[in-house]
């Protein structure tokens, strides 16, 4: 009896370790935000009937183990291997043992150990066995608790780096350009760095370094005396974050690129998103806004009089700075006056006009001559994985839009696909878009409906948005042929097998593998 109980407890401890490793990776990928582990756990457990059944069975085993300890082994087994498909290593990235991760893992283990110890005190060995099984199954809950508890500590530690960055900024005194927006931040930042780089010493925050940790690191590792301009891309997942970044970065020239449903589940509404992004304007001298976005056009009106507002547009020739489509390239217009054209070489991807307009506005504001800006528009660096076309070995055309998660960008990608492969097969491979809050299902269904009109086949990857995408594609026989796969590798294999010269495939968005 006692030996079996000990074995059951041992199995639970092993399950705790292997389970925690998987959920800790999810927490790391979700930026250590408390609540992420439980949210994703819920997604995974309900993603298929099999997982849901296993989960319920495991909970039942855990409960029954109070009476028959050895049953806990069943719960432990489920906690170790289910939900099916969530691996320890992962395809996109493994668990990185940083100081922060080690601390979270340690605290989680301590909490789970404490739960078991407490149950042992109250209920003896059988109590410990139940607690072990339950701790293994509810690992994500303990992880979120640890994340919440450690958050204040992380803030204190981060402050040290913020102070160091502040001192450096005070010594070097670069002109700080701040960029935010739901989409297009990175592209716009790269464009600005390119337009300025020939004339100024520029430091731009690297890709995905758009939070406090990344920006302090950028400043502390790269800001040297002699730097003229610091371009800081600022991301925000919730209200107050941008304001916090601006308190020490103090950007003088700011850009808001767009307001969209990105991270809507954390902002709640698009109006809250707008207000959170608009935090960047509070101390700024110049505000560049993409007025093709109606909400930002409204913000421009609001800020008039209190700040210098520069309206940038990719289509409206009357805007303060416009980058318009022009025969063989682009045209720069400043306050309606033609200020130069840029001939884009055939074969090079065309720059995204709204982002180019925002970037041109910043460059002009910083004193770069308009003819220089216009000339450089011709050679703006293309953004990798953003609708880059290439021909695969099998002869078919591949449109790689895997880094795009923007509904408007996705529509544009469908248009591009629609213009290719006349007479051939046109395939859309997508896991759908995420973090759109309540709109997620509707947005994905809408995307699938738009895909119907151009695609002959749609390959749905993963389970996260499967239902919405399938619904949008319509009943079998009426719309494109549907292929459902679990992982991206399977989709790629399917494409290689079924497509040939004369066909085209669009890879729209790519979800990291901590999504079901």
């Amino acid at each position: 009896m006692t030996a079996l109980s000990a074995v059951a407890l041992g199995a639970s401890v092993l399950a705790i370790v292997s389970g925690d490793l998987r959920w800790l990776r999810v927490a790391q990928r979700e930026h250590y935000l408390p609540g992420a582990a439980v949210r994703f756990a819920w997604r995974w457990w309900v993603s298929t009937p099999l997982d849901a059944a296993l989960g319920l069975a495991a909970l039942a085993c855990a409960g029954l183990s109070a009476f028959v300890p050895v049953i806990a082994i069943g719960a432990a087994a489920v906690a170790s291997f289910a939900p099916l498909g969530l691996g320890i290593r992962g395809r996109t990235s493994g668990l990185a043992w940083t100081r922060r991760m080690s601390l979270v893992a340690l605290l989680t283990a301590l909490l789970q150990g404490a739960a078991i110890a407490l149950s042992a005190v109250v209920g003896g060995l059988s109590g410990a066995v139940v607690a072990g099984a339950v701790s293994a199954l509810l690992g994500p809950l303990f992880i979120d608790a640890a994340l919440a508890a450690l958050r204040p500590l992380e803030d204190v530690l981060a402050q040290r780096y913020v102070q160091q960055a502040e001192r450096l900024l005070g010594r070097v005194r670069p002109l700080v350009v701040g960029i935010t927006g739901s989409y297009g931040k990175t592209t716009t930042k790269n464009y600005i760095a390119y337009l300025l780089g020939g004339d100024r010493n520029v430091v731009a925050s690297p890709r995905s370094f758009n939070n406090r940790a990344g920006l302090t690191r950028t400043v502390n590792e790269q800001l040297t005396p002699g730097t003229d301009v610091l371009i800081a891309e600022m991301g925000a997942y919730g209200p107050g974050e941008i304001a916090a970044l601006c308190s020490w970065l103090q950007p003088e020239v700011v850009v808001i690129t767009s307001i969209g449903p990105a991270h809507l589940e954390r902002f709640g509404t698009l109006e809250r998103t707008l207000e959170a992004k608009a935090e960047i304007t509070s101390g700024a001298r110049v505000v560049v806004l993409n007025v093709d976005d109606t909400r930002l056009a409204g913000l421009a009106k609001r800020l008039e009089g209190t700040k210098k507002v520069v309206r940038a547009s990719g289509s409206d020739a009357t805007a303060d700075v416009a980058v318009l489509a022009h025969f063989e390239g682009l045209e720069l217009k400043i306050s309606g006056r033609a200020s130069g054209t840029a001939l884009v070489e055939p074969g090079s991807p065309t720059p995204i006009r709204t982002n180019a307009a925002c970037a041109a506005a910043v460059a002009l504001e910083l004193g770069i001559a308009s003819d220089v800006v216009a000339r450089r528009l011709a050679t703006l660096p293309s953004v990798p994985n953003r609708l880059q076309p290439y021909r695969a070995d099998g002869g078919y055309l591949v449109l790689d839009d895997t880094f795009n998660a923007n509904p408007a960008g996705a529509r544009h990608a469908l248009e591009v696909l629609g213009s290719e492969a006349p007479g051939g097969r046109r395939v859309v491979v997508t896991p759908g878009m995420v973090e759109l809050g309540k709109s997620q299902s509707a947005e994905n269904a809408a995307f699938a409906e738009a895909a119907r009109r151009v695609a002959t086949d749609v390959v749905v990857v993963g389970r996260t948005n499967r239902a919405a995408l399938v619904k949008g594609c319509g009943a079998a026989g009426t719309g494109p042929a549907l292929e459902l796969v679990r992982r991206r590798e399977e989709a790629v294999a399917w494409v290689r097998e079924h497509l040939g010269p004369g066909d085209a495939v669009l890879f729209e968005n790519d979800l990291p593998d901590h999504f079901p």
Partner: protein
């Protein structure tokens, strides 16, 4: 000075004993550190060169240990594991890097600060440094001077040679004074007069080796306007005549064990128009210089080729070549002009040696042998024997 230098290459027997310092016979430096990175526009390319060098040296017979020393953009030194790949540097300092201090002085060098149980700091025991820094203080004499003060042997140019290589105006002046063919190059400042040659001009920053800030300007007014607007020209600018029909020709030269010249390359432009070799043109491609598009060997007249080689020998003399340098020429197919010298070229230009070929490892090993056999600088206080001090009297009386 030029005469003496020429003799050095003709009379190797006298070479060792004529110059100052010790010559060590045989023996490769066993404990080597490769330095790369640095606060420079060519930071990233330097990482590629450095990692390639670490990889090659680990397989080199005679070299005992190889340390990989990364110089960050902010000027801090780190040691990283030798097997580190380029991808680890994409986001900045690799996460497993160990911070070092650099102490410039006798007994100095790269020092690991104490940590944890080991309280004392720990100097890395090195026999030589293989310098793969491109541009910035790693190639303009700053790092060279700092290493000179520690006494650590290092490869590549001396402090003086490096500074000369980074100063377009001084190099051009030296070339013209030596009677070698070069295009006119004049300084441009606020109070400059119009140059003696007609536009269009090439406007370049005076110091620095990268293509940042280089552009073609249509006339003198535009040049003056750019001088005001472009901060890259703040420290000095030069003007040259722009000849659209001219193309680049490059070859490399190394000095040890004897002067050897490589094949001649004609780099291919990736963009139409504009014959200026821009930064993206030079270094596009994942492997740095080794995969930039090129015509190697260049398809030129044999007479032109001979002329270039003869000029290269002359240049090697006047810059006091040490290590491997790349010489850049401009030509229209018939005439040839000396353009620039690059004293620590990307990938150390090893790919330019085609016939006979030269393995990267051999190149590095011979550069290291040169580093110890030909010390970069040796300081001496000979002549200060106290006599001036003894008869000085009181300082106060001197100041009157």
């Amino acid at each position: 000075m030029i005469g003496n230098a020429r003799r050095r290459f003709d009379d190797r027997g006298a070479f060792g004993t004529r110059r100052m310092g010790e010559v060590r016979e045989g023996g490769l430096p066993a404990r080597v550190a490769v330095t790369y990175g640095g606060p420079s526009p060519e930071h990233d390319v330097s990482i590629l060169t450095g990692l390639q060098a670490v990889h090659a040296l680990e397989r080199a017979p005679g070299v005992g240990s190889v340390r990989s020393l990364y110089w960050s953009k902010s000027g801090d030194w780190y040691e990283v594991p030798a097997a580190t790949e380029a991808a680890a540097f994409v986001e900045g300092v690799p996460s497993n890097a160990v911070r070092l201090r650099f102490i410039s002085g006798p007994g100095g060098g790269f020092v690991r600060p104490g940590s944890g149980l080991r309280a004392r700091e720990d100097r890395l025991e090195l026999d030589a440094v293989l310098n793969c820094c491109h541009g910035g203080p790693g190639e303009d004499g700053s790092l060279q001077g700092a290493l000179d003060l520690t006494g650590l042997p290092y490869t590549g140019p001396t402090a003086v040679g490096a500074a000369l290589g980074m100063d377009k105006l001084a190099f051009a002046a030296l070339v013209i004074y030596a009677g070698l063919p070069a295009l006119a190059r004049v300084p441009l400042s606020e109070d400059s007069d119009e140059p003696g040659f007609p536009p269009p001009y090439i406007l370049k920053p005076r110091f620095g080796g990268s293509s940042i800030g280089i552009e073609v300007v249509a006339d003198f007014e535009t040049a003056r306007a750019r001088l005001e607007a472009n901060s890259h020209l703040r420290r000095g600018a030069v003007l040259e005549p722009y000849h659209e029909e001219m193309f680049d020709l490059q070859l490399a030269a190394r000095s040890w064990p004897e002067l050897q010249l490589s094949g001649i390359e004609r780099p291919i432009r990736t963009r139409g128009g504009g014959e200026i070799l821009g930064y993206e043109d030079k270094y596009v491609g994942a492997e740095g210089m080794t995969s930039a598009p090129r015509e190697l060997p260049a398809k030129i007249d044999p007479a032109l080729e001979d002329r270039i080689r003869a000029l290269a020998r002359e240049i090697a003399s006047i810059v006091d070549l040490r290590g491997v340098a790349r010489f850049d020429f401009l030509s229209d197919g018939e005439d040839v002009f000396i353009n620039e010298v690059n004293t620590i070229p990307g990938s150390l230009s090893h790919y330019l040696w085609i016939d006979p070929g030269l393995s990267f490892t051999t190149l590095l090993v011979e550069m290291l042998a040169e580093a110890t056999a030909r010390p970069a600088a040796v300081f001496s206080s000979a002549g200060s024997d106290g006599s001036v001090l003894r008869i000085a009297g009181s300082i106060a009386s001197k100041l009157g």
